[in-house]
């Protein structure tokens, strides 16, 4: 039992860190530019396809990952300059409509180029086996993802909390007009943040590719989770996104793994079998509703 809990906790950490990569870009786009980007999940999907295609072409996972991330950043740049720049000053409804259109385009474009079948993306050969940590075995690749995620999260923290650009980003999230008035090129900052967010999406998509299927529609489900994360954490706050991601990742993973067992101990088997999976899949939404009920601005509101 302890081993199961430990293993699932590590899985939760890994999932949470990947969610953070997605949520970091989303929360900044949302927080600074006040722009609802429903197509953020599509960037994740397209990024994963880029990585998978490049990895197949180069026959190397790591080269594929680099090329895919660069490609997604390029796509982000094009999208920001051509479409999103027009959307920032529009209302949320227009943003939702336009980015919903982008989802349709992205899904169909991927189907046209790569076909309806999921794409295969293999983890590097060297990492395919398990490693032993503290008496139990854990897949090496998942461990690498955790290390990768921690590294990126740390870098992002330094960038946002310690660098000058990060200071502008935080200032922009707290008060856009004032930041503009103080002479910061907010337009350029927006572009940079958006491109960076797109690159993080592709990174998450590429890293998760070998674990989950690289397929059409993978972006939609993860988009909702990313939204849950940034709402829990507070829109515009990187720290909130990190805490929110870890909470959502662990609660979701542990809930799915343990709730059915726990319920079986407390309820008749029949009721537990029905209630367990249902409760496990709505756990994070319940959590979010509860947090919003008590703290309507999320845990770490960027705009105090």
């Amino acid at each position: 039992m302890t081993q199961l809990v430990l293993e699932q906790a590590l899985n939760g950490l890994q999932f949470g860190l990947m969610l953070f990569l997605l949520a970091a870009g989303l929360t900044l786009v949302f927080g600074i530019m006040d722009c609802i980007n429903l197509a953020h999940g599509s960037l994740y999907m397209v990024g994963a396809y880029f990585v998978a295609a490049a990895a197949q072409a180069a026959d190397s996972f790591w080269i594929g990952l680099g090329a895919g991330v660069a490609g997604a950043a390029g796509l982000g740049l094009v999208l920001e300059l051509s479409l999103f720049r027009q959307l920032y000053r529009r209302d949320h409804l227009s943003q939702a409509l336009a980015t919903f259109g982008l989802i349709l385009i992205a899904n169909e474009a991927v189907r046209m180029i790569w076909g309806p079948q999921p794409l295969l993306l293999n983890a590097p050969e060297a990492l395919s086996g398990p490693v032993e940590i503290g008496g139990f075995f854990y897949p090496a690749y998942r461990l690498v993802i955790i290390v990768f995620g921690l590294g990126v999260a740390g870098l992002l923290y330094l960038l946002v909390a310690r660098s000058r650009v990060g200071m502008w980003v935080r200032a922009g999230a707290a008060n856009r007009e004032m930041t503009e008035a103080l002479g910061v090129n907010v337009q350029g900052l927006f572009t940079a943040v958006f491109v960076f967010g797109a690159a993080l999406c592709a990174l998450a998509g590429g890293l998760l590719g070998p674990l989950l299927a690289v397929q059409i529609g993978m972006g939609e489900s993860v988009l909702i989770l990313a939204f849950v994360v940034i709402i829990i954490g507070g829109i515009g706050s990187i720290r909130g996104a990190l805490v929110g991601s870890l909470i959502v990742g662990t609660v979701d993973t542990l809930g799915r793994a343990l709730l059915p067992t726990l319920l079986r101990a407390a309820l008749p088997a029949d009721a537990a079998a029905t209630l367990g999976p249902a409760l496990a899949s709505i756990l994070i939404y319940l959590l979010m509703a509860a947090i919003l009920f008590f703290r309507p601005q999320g845990l770490f509101p960027a705009r105090a």
Partner: protein, 315 residues
């Protein structure tokens, strides 16, 4: 956003339109295009669903991304009724409306405590919860949905023929649109529009803003439930897809295309979107791309929707 006022020239226009629509099934039948009766029924049902969202979004000013929950709940109630041997729509439809309305009342009571994007997201979260609850309940058929054993009867009249279902959907839509038209001009409609435009002022004038919004939200949910029950009859299945957030997105797209806050915005939007889908799908397998490009073009060039092009109804 300006107040909605029904224009006087609308009445004869609407009556002509209704009469034309009433002729549709026999004409299509004679033409040998009976397939399109089902398609037309679909448009009517989605017009009803989109109009219910328009009440919440356009008149109430509440940007809900969880409307599909009420739409789908209505469909499931209809399927459950059939399962339990209740096949009279006169009982099942009001039941679907009550269940969806009650669900909306609960969701609204919690969600309306939040503002702005948080409201959007919490309604989305509730819709997702509803989706997962319905999908994981084995009595409801899980991922496969709950099939209906047949179509309902309306009083003594069987809805088995496509024509009968078309007329009942048309009747429902006409009733609901009349109701919404009256409502928007009545005290309640004016109040929720005023709350949408200036909440602080209405609050200061002593209006119970929260309660007005909640009633509007629940009413929208109930009407969406009616649309869901009709759709379950048309497709013969309470499909879990109806509950998914992309369905909320589609309804939203309809309302925005048609015109947010115009009485007929939802109807126009449903008509335009479903016809576009049909036409584009005839041209190419990859019609989603065309649709997506069109949505973006609408946002950039016609942000107020199709109904706004007929400017006069906007006082």
């Amino acid at each position: 956003m300006a107040f909605y006022r029904p224009a006087h020239y609308q009445k004869p226009l609407v009556i002509t339109l209704l009469l034309t629509l009433a002729m549709l099934p026999p004409v299509l039948d004679a033409w040998g295009q009976a397939f399109y009766i089902g398609f037309a029924t679909r448009i009517l049902i989605f017009a009803l669903a989109a109009s219910s969202l328009n009440l919440v979004l356009g008149f109430g000013g509440m940007f809900s991304l969880g409307h599909a929950a009420f739409f789908g709940a209505g469909a499931y109630v209809a399927a459950m009724c059939m399962d339990n041997g209740i096949s009279d729509a006169l009982f099942a439809f009001p039941l679907a409306m009550s269940v969806a309305g009650l669900l909306a009342l609960v969701v609204g009571a919690i969600s309306l405590r939040t503002r702005g994007v948080y409201f959007i997201m919490i309604t989305l979260a509730f819709a997702q919860m509803t989706y997962y609850l319905f999908v994981s309940a084995r009595v409801l058929g899980g991922d496969d949905g709950l099939p209906l054993t047949g179509r309902m009867t309306l009083g003594g009249l069987s809805l088995t023929s496509d024509g009968a279902l078309f007329y009942s959907a048309l009747g429902c839509l006409a009733l609901v649109m009349t109701f919404l038209g009256r409502l928007s001009g009545a005290r309640f409609g004016r109040t929720i529009q005023a709350v949408r435009d200036n909440e602080a002022r209405m609050e200061a004038l002593g209006y119970p803003v929260f309660r007005y919004r909640l009633v509007c939200f629940a009413l929208g949910g109930a009407l969406a439930g009616l649309a869901g029950a009709l759709l379950a009859n048309l497709t013969g299945l309470a499909n879990p897809n109806l509950l998914q957030w992309t369905q909320s997105g589609t309804l939203l797209v309809m309302v925005i295309i048609g015109g947010v806050g115009y009485l007929y915005g939802g109807v126009i939007g449903a008509l335009v979107l479903l016809c576009l889908e049909e036409v584009l799908a005839g041209f190419t397998l990859h019609w989603h791309i065309g649709l997506g490009l069109l949505l973006i073009a609408i946002v950039l060039f016609a942000p107020r929707g199709v109904a706004a092009l007929f400017g006069k109804s906007n006082g």
